[in-house]
């Protein structure tokens, strides 16, 4: 069952979250957005309903964060908490409802980028982790990994050096280029630490976008296949038998405990199985609403 890193937020029910939460992480300019734009149509073609979300896109705090950043006067603790507000708003009102409806949620960055940014700005790492302990554990985190030397030309020749992406708030005394290098290096170091701590699946982003896309597809397919096994996509006889065994065991255990209601529910679930198996793995094909 899905769980949070720490305690769940009040009123957050997770028992019926059947969708998949897939995170694409990586530093600025590494190609996360490009990949998400490829993954979404691919998944939809396979019949999965997909929503995407990302940092500072919440209705509640998105505009507030943008306004505050324009003024370049945001302290590091305030910045951390503003992003946390944005995150929790999207978690509760976007991510969880989508998971409940059986969607695949593709998220462009998750708590890890936010932890990295705050850590680099000198905020206590234990403090940030305690705040984000309310986050749900995702099904997979794909970290697009690229070194500074490969990152530089991508940023230089596409969008140029942005104030925040260059960590100008941290290194106002440095030239933009030096500031960018220092800041992005620090972020990469932080990502390496997080990679071990949160078990990222590392995707080598030095390749061209097609090969990166290929790596991501393989990874995501594995997540989805694991899902269809758990949910009883009963294509092979052995699966079917083990499924039956589990359910009989549950029914017996419940009966022994005198819990007749649970026993009959469990037995009923079993009777419905053949039809459920005909529906595939539970990702209803839905047309997508407004982004």
């Amino acid at each position: 069952m899905r769980e949070a890193y720490g305690r769940l937020l009040p009123d957050m029910r997770v028992a019926d979250l059947k969708g998949k939460l897939i995170v694409i992480e990586g530093t600025d300019g590494v190609g996360r957005t490009t990949q998400i734009n490829l993954l979404k149509p691919w998944l939809e073609e396979l019949g999965h309903a997909v929503i995407e979300t990302g940092v500072s896109r919440s209705v509640l705090a998105g505009d507030g964060i943008r306004r505050a950043k324009e003024r370049n006067s945001l302290g590091s603790v305030t910045q951390t908490l503003f992003y946390a507000t944005d995150f929790v708003d999207r978690l509760e009102r976007e991510i969880v409802p989508a998971l409940r409806a059986g969607f695949i949620v593709l998220t462009d960055r998750y708590i890890y980028s936010l932890i990295a940014r705050a850590s680099v700005r000198g905020v206590d790492p234990r403090w940030i982790r305690s705040i984000y302990s309310v986050a749900l554990k995702p099904d997979a985190v794909f970290y697009l990994r690229l070194g500074l030397q490969q990152l530089l030309p991508r940023v230089m020749f596409s969008r140029g050096f942005d104030y925040w992406e260059s960590g100008r708030d941290l290194f106002p005394a440095l030239e933009v280029y030096e500031s960018f290098c220092a800041y992005q290096s620090a972020l990469l170091a932080e990502f390496e630490r997080l990679s071990a701590e949160y078990r990222f699946e590392i995707v080598d982003a030095t390749f061209d976008e097609k090969r990166v896309f290929g790596q991501l597809r393989t990874g995501i397919q594995r997540v989805l296949e694991a899902d269809s096994r758990e949910n009883g996509n009963l294509s092979t006889p052995s699966d079917w038998q083990s499924y039956q065994r589990v359910n009989f065991q549950q029914a017996f255990a419940a009966a022994l405990n005198g819990n007749r209601l649970a026993a009959s529910a469990s037995a009923a679930a079993q009777l419905r199985m053949p039809t459920a198996s005909g529906n595939g793995n539970g990702h209803a094909h839905r047309s997508q609403g407004d982004d």
Partner: protein
């Protein structure tokens, strides 16, 4: 950039910048020349009245006094307003948006002012968040951790008043209760006054628990205004005597 100073992390050479000074967590104010006095209590406890009387007194005696109110950061208050107006705040986002507001006031006002030697007065402080957020169902330890960056006040006054007294005062003074103020988001009751009573009852219970935990200075808020003020001034005076340097020359 000096790439020779790089360290190897994972497959890449990276340069680790010197870490900027992080905000010390649970600051004691003793490091600062300034003084921080804050007032707490449920709505209708009369704490704001007491704080404004204290403010005038300190000013008349020549101290450099600055006042900071709950929920007043120019960077964050529009977000809070939006969330309240559209009723889109949950216990989680309610807690976080108020912490963001408080963080901005701490980083850009309270902390620098205390370092500069001002007397800072706050109407509501972290204890408000501890009481309200926990009353909304947030984990008590999580909320306490959230505010670890806060400066510990010189004195935290808690204006203790029975629920009924507070409600009578509020009903005399205005028409009704706002949605979040009455805890209507919790669905305790459809009737604002009843919801307010139930929610503030929970908040009051949280305050009571905090008296020992945070050594709040309790003022009996049922006493005459003048009596309370004279108690407050006596206590504040003691902490100013030990910090003569905060006095402004006029």
């Amino acid at each position: 950039m000096d790439l020779t100073a790089c360290v190897r992390v994972g497959p890449f050479e990276v340069w680790s910048p010197p870490r900027p000074n992080s905000l010390p967590l649970q600051n004691g104010d003793s490091h600062f020349p300034g003084r921080l006095f804050i007032v707490e209590g449920i709505d209708g406890s009369g704490k704001s009245t007491q704080l404004s009387l204290l403010h005038k007194w300190l000013e008349s005696r020549g101290y450099g006094v600055v006042f900071s109110e709950w929920n007043s950061s120019p960077l964050v208050k529009d977000t809070t307003k939006l969330g309240k107006k559209k009723k889109m705040l949950t216990a989680g986002t309610f807690s976080l948006v108020h912490a963001t507001d408080f963080a901005d006031r701490t980083e850009r006002r309270i902390l620098p002012l205390l370092k500069a030697g001002a007397v800072v007065l706050c109407d509501r402080y972290v204890y408000t968040a501890f009481a309200r957020d926990v009353a909304r169902g947030m984990d008590a330890q999580w909320v306490r951790d959230l505010y670890r960056f806060a400066v510990r006040p010189t004195v935290a006054f808690y204006f203790r008043v029975p629920l009924d007294t507070a409600i009578h005062r509020l009903l005399d003074a205005r028409d009704g209760f706002k949605f979040y103020e009455a805890g209507m988001d919790l669905g305790l009751s459809d009737e604002p006054e009843e919801s307010f009573r139930m929610f503030q009852g929970r908040v009051l219970a949280e305050y009571e628990k905090m008296i020992d935990e945070f050594r709040l200075t309790v003022i009996d808020a049922t006493l005459p205004i003048e009596t309370q003020q004279s108690q407050v001034r006596q206590i504040v005076q003691r902490h100013l005597d030990s910090a003569k340097e905060v006095r402004l020359r006029r």
